[in-house]
Amino acid sequence: MSPTQNRRDFLKKTATVAGLTTIAPGILFYNVSQAKPDGEAVTSKVRWGMLIDTTKCATGCTDCVDACTKEHGLNDNVSAEVAPQWIRKVGLRDKQTGKETSLPMLCQHCEEPPCVDVCPTGASFKRADGIVLVDKHTCIGCRYCMMACPYKARSFIHETLENQKPHSPRGKGTVESCTFCVHKVDKGEQPACVEACSNADHNAIIFGDIKDPESEISKKLAEVSSTALRADMKLNPGVRYQGI
């Protein structure tokens, strides 16, 4: 073990190697939901995506929203009228039939993100694995991205913040939106909203690698019909909805 490699890293790397399973001689099956080694950069071999089954999403349930708020400390010491929303519940009503649907709206992690196109500083960017983020070190708070986002997914921070979470740095004068819980995903975990939804036994959200044909989400996407919101804009969102 080199002096620069601590025990935890060593154990993690060993665990990753153990995640390689031999299915047949000469063929290795690599489970991608396994955490990537800490020192490795993310690649475009993976694209993170989400499939939301609106038929399982109950009107009035806010488990995902609450989990997000808690995970990122979104409501800590902010005035209600300017509280950021990374994920929110939206109600739909079919005027013809009267059918009502409830669904969570969040950053759709577009493949062709307009927020990135308009950003004058390069602060809005898309990671190789498809996660769209704001680099707040470079964001000047101009809010062009908020205007450009067709899904109203972004929030501006108006007030001085205190006691931010170490894994989720946030501050006044910058724009933010859902990060797909990138700090958890990089460790091989699921986003907080997905965990909350399944912990409550609703199981309305599947998260995973849509480029891996063996992942749960890819298999489901191949099987059921799902919708990209505002598909006419050809942004190819990473979030898709089932049952609308």
Partner: protein, 126 residues
Amino acid sequence: MKLYLLLTQIGFGLLLSLAVNAIEKPTPPKANKQFSTEQACVEPIDIMRRYHGHFLKHHRDDTMHSGVRTTQHSLVECINCHVTADDHGNYPSVKDGSEHFCRSCHNYAAVTIDCFQCHASKPEKK
């Protein structure tokens, strides 16, 4: 004229010595643990004193843009190791005083740190 010059010189000398006495050398609090048996911090101390800003900035871009999550040069780990609680379990403020590890030297050097407008300045309570 000569006398006047001499007096001013003495005056300056006095001022200088006063100023030097008034500014206390920073005494940053002790870290939680050693990095390794051979090395106190994640890089040799003299390198850290001069280049910690470079390490942090380089690592911040790697983490933000490429998802590199190593801990050696991560700000969160600096805080976890260097910001220590007092006997009552309270952490020093990054806003005032010079008890906070980062502030102790930055006050002395009169260099403002903006990191903690967004980043947590103390370890997360478990």
